[in-house]
């Protein structure tokens, strides 16, 4: 690495991590208003453990994201398996719809979904939030799994077929195991994206039913909150762990590729 490269990379990392580092540091600062001088304390973490609102919201977020991730992975993997076998206009059109789901502002999607739920009489609610979140995380799952399926060696499937495996059997015994790392990876990705999605939950959950992003939002609007710092640190730690897992699964799929 040249000196210029080092400077460029170091400065951009500093910019990317400044807001996160500040929150982590402040979670150990005993000041109620996030001001200096800094004095080390763990009191916000013990406060966090006693804060029922935050714990309920965390549990709700985990539960919601779990259901959404499972549904999105199932539906998305099926969709990806179909998509790689299609070369017609429908395939290209479905790619367009998936990209649109990622690119259209969630604000616009969120209020549009709410209109549909109001029309069919469900309105705001957990079911609405699950369906809406499945829709916005679906593209992530489809693209991750699709990329993996495209990279699979067709010869393996052909070999299985020529040795007498039925289409269904070759799918379950060859395609699924080979694509497994990416399927698990897409589940984690779907979980993280749903867990952190504020906008869709803001419009589709009933007023007063708060997931973690909504709880953080409502506390931040009233000002600085040291308990949120502690919670944010815990959430960040969880996100790092999931990111590391994702990375390992990525390495896993590479392992499959190299040794096939």
């Amino acid at each position: 690495m040249t000196k210029a490269q080092k400077i460029v990379i170091a400065s951009v990392e500093l910019i990317l991590y400044a807001p996160l580092i500040v929150v982590i540091l402040m979670s150990f600062n005993s000041s109620l208003y996030g001001t200096f001088p800094f004095s080390f304390s763990l009191k916000w973490y013990s406060y966090l453990l006693k804060s029922e609102d935050l714990l309920i919201a965390s549990w709700r977020s985990i539960w919601l994201s779990f259901v959404v991730a499972l549904l999105a992975t199932t539906i998305g993997t099926m969709f990806a398996v179909w998509r790689v076998s299609v070369k017609s206009v429908i395939g290209v059109a479905s790619d367009g719809i998936l990209v649109a789901t990622v690119a259209i502002p969630w604000l616009i999607l969120g209020i549009a979904m709410l209109q549909v739920f109001n029309l069919i009489g469900i309105g705001r609610g957990t079911v609405s939030a699950v369906i809406g979140n499945v829709a916005v995380v679906l593209p992530y799952v489809v693209f991750v799994v699709m990329t993996r399926l495209r990279g699979l060696d067709e010869n393996l499937i052909e070999a299985g077929r020529s040795l007498g495996a039925t289409q269904l059997k070759s799918f379950y015994r060859i395609t699924v195991p080979l694509a497994m790392p990416s399927i698990l990876g897409s589940t984690l990705l779907a979980f993280v994206v749903c867990f952190n999605n504020f906008t869709i939950q803001y419009f589709l959950l009933p007023l007063g039913v708060r997931t973690l992003p909504l709880e953080i939002y409502s506390q931040v609007r009233t000002g600085y909150s040291p308990a949120i710092n502690a919670l944010a640190t815990v959430v960040l730690l969880g996100t790092v762990l999931i990111a590391l897992l994702l990375e390992r699964l990525g390495a896993g799929s590479k392992h499959f590729r190299d040794h096939r």
Binding site: L16, Y17, Q115
Partner: protein, 281 residues
């Protein structure tokens, strides 16, 4: 597998996409026209007329678009050297660096906004450091100004842009740059004649991916922007969460969506000659 017998696998996916993307957006058109009368307690016609009766909403649209554009531009200026630099480092370090770039993308926007809020707060960490220079006092800050919102949007755009620029830089052969150098091309010339044209297609796509959500943002301005910093997104969100006027909200959101998609398309077309002319690609 000649005939496609997998079509049924796509059904749940299409059902979700149709019911949560296509139908909702079409329904929004009807709602904005006041035609979906049984949907809400307060159906109102004339929402479109109301938008154009004053210049207020057009000015807000302009402000949202301009903020998105400035934020994207700031992010590009920071992301370009970074994405390029990451594409030129040894593979082992590269993997770690890419991981650190992706991580903030996985963190909740609300948390990042909150981090910015803490960072910028008067007497907070950043201002305490800056005030050591005695140029400005520690309790003054750009928090609660429009500048804070735009910087936040630029920050959020960084991971995607760095990754996109990295991806298009990575395929550029180092030999190409080295030979240009040995033929006497200056650093600037190498940038404008090789790196810029070759990374342009990826950059245009990446910019659209960050510009569109930035224009439709509303949480950033609500928390960081202060009383005079609202964007069109805030007005739209308020129609649903506070005022309960879905028709007007639908009209405003459709105006925002069509404006931003048109803008993204026009910019894409305008920038195309920049890289089409290059025959290196």
């Amino acid at each position: 597998m000649k005939t496609n017998r997998r079509w049924f696998l796509s059904l749940p996916g299409f059902a979700i996409l149709a019911s949560m993307l296509v139908i909702p957006l079409l329904l929004q058109v009807l709602t904005s026209l006041g035609l979906a009368k049984n949907l809400s307690e307060f159906p109102r016609a004339g929402s479109w007329r109301r938008i154009f009766e004053s210049t207020l909403y057009l000015r807000l649209l302009y402000r949202s678009m301009w903020s998105g554009l400035v934020a994207t531009a700031i992010a590009i200026v920071i992301a370009w050297p970074a994405g390029w630099a990451i594409s030129r480092v040894p593979k082992g370090i590269q993997k770690v660096l890419l991981g650190t770039v992706i991580l903030p993308y996985l963190v909740s926007t609300v948390l990042l906004i909150y981090g910015f809020f803490v960072l910028l707060a008067g007497n907070g960490p950043l201002m305490s450091v800056i005030s050591l220079t005695n140029l400005i006092s520690a309790d003054s800050s750009i928090l609660y100004t429009h500048t804070a919102t735009v910087l936040m949007l630029a920050y959020e755009a960084l991971p995607v842009l760095i990754l996109v620029i990295y991806a298009s830089s990575e395929s550029i052969d180092q030999a190409l740059i080295d030979s240009a150098r040995s033929l006497g091309a200056t650093r600037l010339k190498r940038f404008f004649h090789i790196i810029l044209p070759l990374t342009m297609p990826g950059l245009v796509a990446g910019s659209a991916l960050v510009f569109v959500p930035a224009v439709g943002s509303f949480v950033e301005s609500q928390i960081l922007g202060g009383p005079n910093g609202i964007l069109l997104g805030n007005v739209i969100s308020d129609q649903i969460r506070r005022i309960n006027d879905p028709a007007f909200g639908a009209a405003l959101s459709l105006m925002l969506l069509s404006a931003v998609l048109t803008a993204a398309y026009v910019f894409g077309r305008l920038l195309k000659p920049l890289y089409r002319r290059s025959n290196l690609a």
